[in-house]
Symmetry: C2
Subunit: 228 residues, 2 copies
């Protein structure tokens, strides 16, 4: 069996939260959001290798939080870049285990299911990366301008989550190419380098925690998982 890595990217500055605490550090159910996220990967497999990418200026905060919460699980901490692309690239630099698999995951998605992590790793194949998607619940329109838009069939579109999972060597090669503004996720970088993407089902609770309501949602989730 190949080694497995979780590359967890927590670059957010918390601007959208309307608070000084970056959202990955907000404590919910007694622990920072980011710690919940890491623990969920360990719940999936206690042997998984964790690489955590944080903005340089957050590394001390994180270390203090780990001390406060007696979070002693070994994990590699890497300083991020100005864009998500460079943060992921910096994290991949510390993974030399070329034939292993890496799941690249948003630090603020603590509700990722163990089943989704398992399916992600199990579905990766040579030159095929795996990303989770869920149906879009709203009706949507394609919009040129407010006066020029058209109805589209929403069943043809799906919303993307993380983790996005790849063979380490392949995704590292993709991240060695130049940065392009059109890259919005790892799948895009992988495809730009000739890789193929297969979709699997995400889990609907696996939202990005970006607003105060998302924090409440997560708190309720921890208190009563049947709610969701």
């Amino acid at each position: 069996v190949d080694n497995k890595y979780a590359l967890i990217v927590a670059g957010g500055k918390g601007i959208r939260m309307g608070t000084d605490i970056p959202k990955q550090f907000i404590e919910v159910g007694g622990k920072p959001v980011l710690m919940h996220t890491i623990i969920q990967f360990l719940n999936y497999n206690s042997e998984i290798n964790i690489v955590l990418v944080l903005p340089q200026e957050h590394i001390d905060i994180w270390k203090k939080l780990c001390a406060k919460h007696s979070f002693n699980t070994k994990h590699k901490i890497v300083a991020g870049g100005n864009e998500r692309f460079f943060s992921v690239k910096n994290g991949l630099h510390y993974i030399d285990d070329k034939n292993s698999l890496v799941a690249i995951h948003d630090g603020v998605r603590p509700m990722v299911s163990k089943l989704l992590i398992e399916n992600s790793f199990n579905s990766v194949k040579k030159n095929i990366g795996i990303i989770p998607t869920i149906p879009i619940s709203d009706s949507i329109r394609y919009v040129e301008t407010n006066e020029n838009s058209k109805h589209i069939d929403r069943t043809k579109y799906r919303a993307i989550q993380t983790p996005q999972t790849f063979i380490v060597d392949e995704i590292k090669q993709a991240y060695n190419k130049d940065y392009d503004l059109s890259f919005t996720d790892d799948a895009g970088v992988f495809e730009a380098n000739g890789g193929k993407i297969n979709l699997i089902d995400g889990n609907v609770e696996n939202i990005k925690i970006t607003t105060p309501n998302d924090v409440i949602y997560f708190d309720l989730f921890l208190k009563n998982k049947k709610l969701i």
Copy 2:
């Protein structure tokens, strides 16, 4: 000034809620969701004419709820059809005031803002219907199959809400055409009859209440609107 109508469609059977109570009848903050929705239109304009479309088998339940909550505001109750198309069509049948305006709204969207209702009515023009949209927050892909999907630019797409607002005569003409399975909202019916649609900004809280978590979200909204 033309008369204004709110045609509120509450056809849901509540199947997705995992409960026997249709979601429009669930009490939040002391009142059924549907009553909150109607009251919000009255908050916008106490003179607005309310036409409420309910499944035949829910009409007695609704009347009992109105008695229980001493909800005495005059409103026309109309029995719905098997599809939303026929429910709206049945409701429009009871609006004879041809040059007036009608806002067609989901009964389970109680968090519609007064500003959105106002902007909707004020933006309608001859042969132009108005629908509210909000940005799509997730990355999305166009999906043929799990093995054949592609990244798209989500800034070109927007999620649709209600109310969808029209000149009564024009939307009635559109609803006189035959039903087509491709109709997913009033805008689609209107466009199929040659009408044009302009978009305005919706309000993000104006979600459809379809899950237990949505109910919690609405409860928190009522308790502390600053949350959202």
